[in-house]
Amino acid sequence: MIDLGSFSSLQLDAIREVGNIGTGNAATALSKLLSCMINMDVPKAELVSIYELAEHYGDPGREVAAVFVRSLGGFGCSLIFVQQEEDAQLMVDLLLKQQFGDYLPENLPQEMRDSALTEVGNIILSSFLNAINLLIGTQHQISVPAVAHDMLSSILDVVASIFGQMGEMALMINTQLRVEGAGLANISGSIILVPDPDALEMLLRKLRVL
């Protein structure tokens, strides 16, 4: 198993590049879906203490919306798309206004809004994953998406418990997407990629940095 403690900067760079390719694809998909321009940050690949995950990303008690998928087979990993709750709701409004025109999305039942949110997350994360699998030449299946609205630290428990089983550091690939457009409030969200322990080794070999 990979020892995250002895990860080299070359390996981190290679992982970050994977994040870059995934994010580019995800941004394109989101842009098509919302008919908006999407800006993306240069992704970061970093090693973070599992004891300080939430603090690393902000206020642990902050209310966030998160969409979660698992990739099975090929490159095994978990992917989470996290947004501040207000941003998630703005994004849902944006999508539903396109679909329903004048119909006020606020009047839609919560389940329907959640379903829209889950689908946006699913599209972003699937596009991200497709790009990675194309890059390293693996085939994968993706689980149905799950959504949660909760405190940042509760959501990140999922990540902490995966990495916690093999040590005290988590490898996080984190990137931000921002919806841009005239008259739109800034909507942003982060993609977090959490490779399975055995998948990480495979990924590094395919990238020829192990």
């Binding site: 599992i50 004891y51 300080e52 995950l53 939430a54 603090e55 642990p60 008690g61 209310e63 998160a66 979660f68 998928v69 698992r70 099975l72 978990s78 689980s143 149905v144 799950a146 959504v147 949660a148 609205h149 909760d150 405190m151 940042l152 630290s153 509760s154 959501i155 990140l156 428990d157 999922v158 902490a160 418990s161 995966i162 916690g164 089983q165 093999m166 040590g167 005290e168």
Partner: protein, 163 residues
């Protein structure tokens, strides 16, 4: 005397004399375990992340795993003057944040395993577990005060309950 307040992070473990308030934020699958002795007036809390330390690498925090956190917390209580037969416990947490139909992933059910292991470890030491609020799919912020020995549990969208 003013009540000292301590916020515990992941895998932290702390025992303190009353008056004290012990807080931990946003428990998802993690467990907030509280133990207290109202006669000796001491209370302790652990923020447990995983059930089982077997296979753990190196010298990790004892509060991280249920099987190491429970005995360590009780030991610490005894050192601070608690009497074992007087110690009572309350637990909260162990939620499953995401449910994926059809996809079985061990780590998604870690909350339930945390609850099971923590409960079993308390029983093994003969500590009475007098109240619990576990499972479900919502995160919890917990606050234990020695002013009334109650564990206050805050859940987004559901308000506050006390056990």
């Amino acid at each position: 005397m003013a009540e000292a307040s301590h916020v515990l992070g992941m895998a932290d473990l702390l025992v303190a004399r009353a008056p004290v308030k012990l807080v931990t934020l946003g428990l998802g699958s993690c467990i907030g375990l509280v133990v207290f002795d109202t006669t000796a007036k001491v209370a302790g809390m652990a923020h447990i992340m995983l059930p089982d330390s077997r296979g753990a690498i190196g010298n990790e925090k004892v509060g991280k795993f249920a099987d190491t956190a429970v005995p360590a917390l009780i030991d610490e209580m005894l050192k601070k003057g608690a009497v074992k037969s007087h110690i009572k416990a309350k637990i909260a947490g162990g939620a499953q944040m995401f449910a994926l139909p059809g996809a079985s992933a061990d780590f998604l059910t870690v909350g339930a395993r945390n609850v099971k292991e923590t409960t079993a470890r308390l029983a093994r030491l003969g500590i009475a577990l007098i109240a619990s609020d576990t499972g479900g799919n919502k995160g919890r912020t917990v606050e234990f005060s020695t002013s009334d020995w109650m564990l206050k549990i805050k859940t987004l969208g559901k308000g506050v309950t006390e056990i």
